[in-house]
């Protein structure tokens, strides 16, 4: 059934999802890579897209939400334009990563519960380990890895991004 009846594509938003679903043969077993591809496209997993994916794969929305919320890589809330990831693996932790996190959060007015700035410019997250332990402590700004950070240099990274944003 599921391979024959393609659910109606409501609005432009789902066109990309359609392509992704087709690429993975609409198999429920490929749910993880499907969600990864969807997130790549939308930068997070919007609720209506998850429901649509469930329908297309002929599985319950609960199953799709279950998987989407289980893995830390998946975000069900929109992320800011710039993603700041602070490594808090063991090596970074013993080399004082927490004061860097505190300093960056303070600069942006964020805390553990509020991870994205109201202007949607920054999201600050911690990750378990990036495997760049030799450079600990590490901060990643939009996939660019910065090693041997301090609270001051961490804040400077944020301010550099802010300055670039303002210049545009």
């Amino acid at each position: 059934m599921r391979n024959q009846t393609k659910p109606e594509c409501r609005g432009r938003k789902f066109v990309k999802v359609f392509t992704i679903l087709d690429k993975y043969g609409r198999k429920p077993s490929r749910l993880v890579p499907i969600l990864q591809a969807v997130q790549e496209e939308y930068r997070y997993l919007p609720e209506e897209v998850l429901t649509y994916v469930a329908m297309a794969l002929d599985v319950s929305p609960a199953r799709v939400f279950g998987v989407a919320t289980f893995y830390s890589h998946f975000a069900i809330e929109p992320k800011g334009k710039h993603l700041i990831r602070l490594c808090d693996g063991t090596a970074c932790h013993v080399k004082d990563s927490v004061p860097i996190l505190d300093a960056i959060r303070k600069r942006l007015g964020l805390d553990e519960k509020h991870k994205t700035t109201p202007d949607m410019l920054f999201t600050v997250e911690t990750v378990a380990c990036l495997g760049a332990c030799g450079l600990a402590p590490v901060v990643v700004v939009d996939d660019q890895v910065h090693g041997q950070m301090t609270p001051e240099s961490g804040v400077k990274l944020i301010e550099d991004v802010m300055a670039k944003e303002q210049a545009q």
Binding site: S72, D96, C129, L135, Q148
Partner: protein, 629 residues
């Protein structure tokens, strides 16, 4: 070329053939973060500008060029990156910046001079080390799995083949029966490098004897242990060796489908493994007729989605099947009923890389290193408060002292200076492992001796810690990690780790009583017993091992409401050691709240009522007179 330095003869080639000069830039995650790709681009243009005939591709019969520039995978010495190796001179330049490239080209490549300022200086002897043969960090290692990481281009299958690559897989497919392969692995005594140390040959035999037309082999590259990057480095540096091992495993058990499950946090490893699979397909090593044997073999690379528990075999299978990564009870073992209910074996990246060597050189050669019960070598990621952080490979049975103090170059303080008496502990095995103390410095590192002291090899993460590290805080750090990563299936793991974490919070925030400690220990044992998979079974290990070896620190927190290192801010009591204070006034000037007072050249004091425990005084003091913060 008139330049004499460009015509060095390679004695190994003997026949007077001109050896290609090589410039190798490390492009592992660490070096790339420090600008390795920009350095490569600078070399490309500067070398060409100097009129040197340059190539960036490997070709075995190539003699028309004078110099080959290539990137390599992680060479392990990450904190000194970007690393630039020049062969056959054997020069290793470190911390190379784009600005240094012009000078390297004109002085070293053209002029034949070594630039001292870019060489590694041994902190112990202050001697400039020309290359890896002089640097103690490398000298004291025995590299097999990591041998080619750092010289070959990980994205060039031809170079891997030139170094004897795919010979073992070819032998396995064309000259050996599955039984012979399994026998050889059993004979080698190879034990799984992912953590448990289960004999690889036994796992393979269990899957081989299954009568099933469909079988799977999965490469576990979901290296979730925070503070460890052995598998990342092997995949980034020599991805084909992992793929070759995987092919041998598939041949041994009779599988025609293989899968590599890589952590998504490792973008370079993912890209290079994918590239390796594509290239192997193009070469006909994978596909419908592997090495002309008529056998079929496919391989797929899948990215994980950031769940630590997926490193557990059955959880990984669930994840591949598109489910939440939750483990299930064993038996049936995956070797009997795994992916899609078919016989499946799951091996770690490093285990597979060892397989290649065992098939090539034989089990006896493999057993020459290491101990009887733990043969061979093991890679460790050495991080934390050591002078040389990085990736190392040593035979099993090497002592902790050799690894941390000799290869690691000693323990550093918060300013990065080596301290002779700085050693406090080493955390081994990540969130499942335990702590080792000074008393264990002469303990040989192998599966069984580590288990006997309440730790484990784990995947090989070794985090060294100095005297300023609070062990209760470290236990809390790991508990916070396992609590978050618990999949939620078993009540004792889900709720127990949460309660353990809140007890540890009570301890470090000064709310705990003697009863808390009793309860913490009781609950730790309950979580161990009441959990299904390795995550829950081993989650209490960091707490139990710190309770065992650092009980006095817990006691100080609980009974004296004092954190001896001052790391736990609520219990920090900064004070100035009057015997060490010289009265330089530096701390008083730095204190943001004016809590420090005292006359010049006389010991200062901290007003506890004003102090905000920020630690600025301790950072400023040159005489280490500020204690407890």
């Amino acid at each position: 070329m008139n330049n004499p330095t460009l015509n060095i003869m390679d004695p190994a080639m003997g026949n007077g053939a001109k050896t290609l000069r090589r410039v190798i830039v490390c492009a592992g995650t660490g070096c790339v973060a420090n600008g390795a790709y920009k350095v490569i681009e600078a070399f490309k243009s500067q070398i060409a500008a100097a009129g040197i005939n340059i190539t960036t591709e490997f070709k075995a019969e190539e003699h028309q060029h004078d110099l080959r520039l290539n990137k390599s995978g992680c060479q392990g010495f990450c904190q000194m990156g970007p690393l630039v190796t020049i062969l056959p001179d054997g020069i290793l330049y470190n911390k190379v910046r784009v600005e240094d490239v012009a000078e390297i080209v004109s002085q070293t490549l053209v002029g034949g001079k070594v630039l001292d300022r870019l060489l590694y200086v041994d902190p112990a002897t202050k001697k400039h080390c020309n290359g890896i043969n002089d640097i103690p960090f490398y000298q004291r290692q025995q590299r097999f799995v990591l041998k080619e990481c750092g010289t070959i281009d990980p994205e060039d299958v031809h170079e891997y083949i030139h170094h004897g690559g795919y010979m073992a897989a070819k032998k396995a497919f064309l000259k050996m029966s599955p039984e012979q392969i399994v026998q050889e692995i059993l004979k080698s005594g190879l034990r799984g490098r992912g953590g448990g140390g289960f004999p690889t040959g036994r796992k393979w035999e269990a899957a081989r004897i299954q009568k099933n037309a469909k079988k799977y082999v999965i490469c576990n590259a979901d290296e979730g242990d925070p503070g460890a990057f052995m598998n990342r480095s092997v995949m980034e540096g020599n991805p084909h060796s992992v793929l070759e091992g995987l092919m041998i495993a598939a041949r041994a058990i009779g599988a025609d489908e293989t899968l590599i499950y890589v952590r998504t946090e490792y973008p370079f490893a993912v890209a290079r493994m994918k590239r390796a699979v594509e290239d192997a397909q193009k070469m006909g090593f994978l596909g419908d007729n592997v090495f002309g044997s008529g056998q079929k073999l496919n391989c797929e690379v899948m990215e994980g989605a950031g769940a630590f528990v997926c490193g557990e075999e059955t959880a990984m299978i669930a994840s591949i099947e598109g489910q939440r990564g939750m483990p299930r009870p064993k038996p049936p073992f995956p070797a009997q009923s795994g992916l899609w209910g078919k016989p499946t074996i799951i091996n770690n990246v490093e285990t597979l890389a060892h397989v290649v060597r065992i098939i090539n050189q034989g089990a006896d050669t493999f057993r020459k290193l290491g101990s009887t019960a733990s043969p061979g070598t093991k890679t460790f990621a050495l991080t934390g408060h050591v002078a040389n952080t990085g990736l190392i490979e040593v035979p099993f049975g090497t002592t902790l002292r050799e690894v941390v103090l000799n290869i690691g170059g000693g323990i550093t303080d918060r300013h990065g200076k080596v301290k002779a008496d700085g050693f406090k502990a080493v955390q081994i095995g990540g969130p499942s492992g335990g702590c080792l103390t000074k008393d264990h410095l002469d303990l040989p590192l192998d599966y069984d001796s580590l288990r006997s002291v309440g730790a484990m090899v784990g995947s090989g993460g070794l985090v060294a810690m100095n005297q300023k590290t609070c062990m209760v805080n470290i236990a809390r750090f790991f508990m916070d990690f396992t609590q978050r990563e618990s999949c939620g299936k078993c009540v004792l793991c889900r709720e127990g780790t949460r309660q353990m974490l809140s007890m540890l919070d009570d301890i470090i925030e000064g709310r705990a009583t003697g009863e808390t400690l009793v309860l913490l220990e009781k609950l730790a044992i309950a979580v161990q017993k009441g959990s299904l998979c390795g995550l829950g079974k081993t989650a209490p290990n960091p707490v139990l091992s710190t309770l065992r070896y650092f009980r006095h620190e817990y006691d100080a927190h609980v009974f004296h409401k004092y954190c001896p290192t001052g790391q736990c801010k609520a219990l920090a009591k900064p004070s100035i050691d009057a015997t060490k204070c010289k009265g330089c006034t530096a701390c008083a000037k730095k204190c943001p709240v004016g809590a420090i007072s005292g006359e010049r050249k006389k010991p200062h004091v901290i007003d506890q009522a004003k102090c905000i425990k920020c630690g600025a005084c301790a950072d400023t003091c040159k005489f280490e007179a500020v204690v407890g913060v």
